[in-house]
């Protein structure tokens, strides 16, 4: 809890400077300090877990243990996906950790294609750890660096609050199609992490919105619940079913929930008086 206190102190200064104009008279700038401090802890915990999980994952890759590495792929990514709006603030690292083949001109063959999806390609498409060693080392170095940068980061309130919607935009734009984890089809793990990350932000600021607009809060939680119920159908002992198991109907249910959450959460910043 020491961390929290320190953060709160630094955020007080920040809040006073960055949050002068509040559209919503009921939300005072200082009201956001605690939720943002709590979110910082959430992000830090996930970044640390990402480092620990990536260590085990990349060790398996380097040891040539294809099966073990495959089984760890989905769960290792979850800590990254949950805090993606913050991780994305470092675009150099986001590119090297989480870019997809189609972000690169030469696709899978492009030397710039590194990170999770490059290793995923080797493991699942080529069923091998051959030549993956350097990618494993690079990924490990990148997530370690990410963790370090996050520790030093002062979270901009509008990025935090806006992050709830950003996560939904990510799912809506590229994940709902199953393009993200195209070799492993572990997309439902990513979904789960994205939704949890978005819900965390929403839950933290929820008390601030609730008094003004309880209908909004009910609607948004209802949609998060709908997503949870739908994803729960695909839960397995150690994670989630592969993406191709998702029925067309459930995919539509998820797509509609994502689109609705994206619409609703896009107003969250404004509701809290953030620009």
């Amino acid at each position: 809890m020491k961390l929290k206190l320190v953060l709160s102190a630094s955020l007080l200064a920040l809040a006073a400077a960055a949050l002068p104009r509040m559209a919503n008279a009921e939300v005072a700038p200082l009201d956001l300090v605690q939720p943002i401090a709590d979110y910082k802890i959430y992000v830090s915990e996930h970044a640390e877990k990402l480092v620990a999980d990536t260590k085990v994952f990349t060790d398996a890759v380097k040891a040539g243990d294809v099966d073990k590495a495959k089984s760890l792929f989905g769960s290792t990514r979850m800590s990254y996906e949950a805090i993606e709006p913050i991780a994305e603030l470092f675009s150099d690292l986001d590119g090297s950790i989480d870019s997809r083949a189609d972000d690169h001109e030469k696709a899978e063959k492009d030397p710039e294609f590194t990170g999770f999806h490059r290793i995923e390609y080797g493991l699942f498409s080529e069923n091998s750890t051959k030549d993956l060693g350097p990618f494993a080392d690079k990924l490990m170095a990148d997530v370690t660096e990410l963790n370090k940068r996050i520790t030093d980061l002062t979270l901009p309130p509008e990025k935090v609050v806006g992050g709830a919607a950003v996560l939904m935009e990510e799912v809506a734009a590229t994940k709902i199609s199953g393009e993200e984890d195209r070799y492993s089809h572990t997309d439902l793990w990513d979904f789960k992490a994205n939704f949890d990350g978005s819900r965390k932000i929403f839950d933290l600021v929820r008390p601030l919105v609730e008094k003004e607009d309880s209908a909004f809060v009910t609607k948004v939680s209802g949609n998060f619940d709908k997503v949870d119920t739908t994803l729960a159908k695909y839960k397995t002992a150690d994670g989630y079913e592969l993406y191709d198991k998702l029925t067309e109907d459930d995919r539509a249910v998820l797509a509609a929930a994502v689109n609705t959450l994206a619409e609703d959460l896009s107003t969250l910043r404004g509701k809290l008086g953030l620009n």
Binding site: A23, A252, A255, A256, N259, T260, A262, E263, G270, N275
Partner: protein
């Protein structure tokens, strides 16, 4: 909006812009976008059109966009519908209707706090012009099949489209619970409307596929007559369409009649068949003119039938040509309409758009016809005609890749009404007419 308003707007526009007889511009559906001729215009000045205030009425026994003259830009968008309960389906129909009413009327969207996303995409500016927009709502077979309480009320002829002989259907371009046909003077107006609907109904509808299309614009003819636009094979398309201004004919061909096999709620509605038909245009352009004309059964330049006619409105007489020496027996128009007394039961009203989607993997143009037709009986109409066409020589140049069958419910009577109300009432759902 009422017909009176409509006249008023038209008349005022005519006064302002000196368009000919009142209402004529409205019925031609032509868009004559005139570039600003003013000296000193800038490269990025907006092209100018005097048609942006053209307006169609959303209200009436029939939905707009069926016998409405086809404007320059069209789109079909197909959706997966999430509304399952009567209450949700009612909310879907009501919201859809109120958005359509607003968009077809035009107006100013609400202004929100600038810390919030704006209510409107803004792509048509702060005041939305009607621009001759129509949005026609239609329901697919699955809309009824997947809702047990609606299944007994499914239109008698509605089925899920099955592949015909020449089809190579792409599952991602087929079917849907609900289809919107959006047409207006410009593609931008259609896109604006689609984005508005998506933004307002994210929890009840998910977009599955869409296809946009266009109709080539012609200059007005000095004598005030009209001619059919051309499709991407370079032939006039629509010459032999039944006269959409003949209400009695439309009652026979297009609208579901009061008495018959159909449930009563469908009265005033129509069946919509949509087909995305790719044209192999490079190959077509390398085909001798005479062969092209034999395949279609008409002259390319004029659109006249073979055997002496001079205009597209001349009518071929197959009784004098039983061997097909004038119009080949397997010509497109001859197979599509035998022109016998019996074949009158198979007439359809076509309302297609040309589409162009980029380049195929083989480096050929991905373009073709967004074929849309309406009929009172899907079996006797599209399905029968397409079966007659199966095996036609034109097949070498076309490949149907998508589409679906839908039922277009009757229109809303007035502002207190909404599309789909008669269906909900038939299903025993209490609907309150709000005014």
């Amino acid at each position: 909006m009422t017909t009176n308003d409509n006249k008023l707007v038209t008349t005022r526009r005519n006064v302002l812009f000196g368009v000919g007889a009142a209402g004529s511009a409205l019925t031609t559906g032509l868009t004559t976008a005139r570039a600003a001729e003013k000296q000193g215009g800038q490269v990025t000045d907006a092209p100018v059109s005097d048609k942006t205030q053209e307006r169609q009425s959303f209200y009436g026994l029939h939905q707009a966009g069926i016998v409405t003259p086809r404007p320059a830009a069209g789109m079909i968008a197909s959706f997966h519908v999430l509304a399952k309960t009567p209450a949700d389906v009612e909310r879907l129909f009501r919201t859809l209707s109120s958005r359509i009413a607003f968009l077809m009327q035009g107006g100013t969207p609400p202004e929100l706090d600038d810390k919030l996303p704006p209510a409107d995409s803004g792509l048509l500016g702060p005041v939305i012009p009607p621009d001759n927009l129509t949005i026609t709502v239609s329901l697919g077979s699955s809309f009824f099949d997947d809702r047990y309480w609606l299944a007994p009320h499914k239109p008698a002829r509605l089925s899920r489209m099955k592949a015909f002989r020449n089809d190579a259907l792409d599952a991602d371009l087929c079917h849907g619970d609900l289809a919107l046909q959006i047409s207006s003077n410009t593609p931008d107006t259609n896109i604006h409307a689609l984005r508005d609907v998506l933004k307002n109904l994210p929890d009840l509808m998910v977009l599955r596929w869409k296809q946009e299309g266009s109709v080539p614009v012609l200059p007005p003819k000095p004598d005030g007559t009209h001619e059919s636009a051309r499709n991407f094979l370079g032939f006039r398309d629509g010459s032999a369409n039944p006269d959409a201004n003949n209400a009695a004919l439309m009652d026979k061909i297009v609208w579901v009649p009061e008495n018959g096999a159909e449930p009563a709620w469908t009265r005033g509605g129509s069946y919509q068949a949509v087909r995305i038909i790719r044209n192999f245009v490079e190959r077509w352009d390398r085909t001798p003119l005479g062969e092209q004309e034999r395949i279609i059964g008409r002259k390319k330049a004029t659109g006249a039938p073979h055997g002496g006619g001079s205009t597209e409105h001349d009518v071929p007489d197959y009784s004098k040509d039983p061997e097909g020496t004038i119009t080949p027996l397997d010509a497109h128009i001859r197979l599509a309409n035998f022109r016998t007394q019996a074949s009158e039961a198979n007439l359809i009203l076509r309302r297609p758009f040309n589409y162009s989607n980029g380049v195929s993997k083989s480096g050929q143009l991905e373009q073709g016809l967004l074929f849309i037709c309406y009929q009172a009986d899907l079996e006797k109409g599209f399905i029968t005609v397409q079966r007659q066409l199966d095996g036609e020589p034109l097949e070498e140049y076309i490949k149907p890749i998508g589409g679906g069958f839908f039922f277009t419910p009757p229109g809303p009577q007035d502002e207190s009404d909404f599309v789909g109300r008669t269906l909900l009432e038939a299903a025993g759902h209490d609907v309150v007419r709000k005014s």
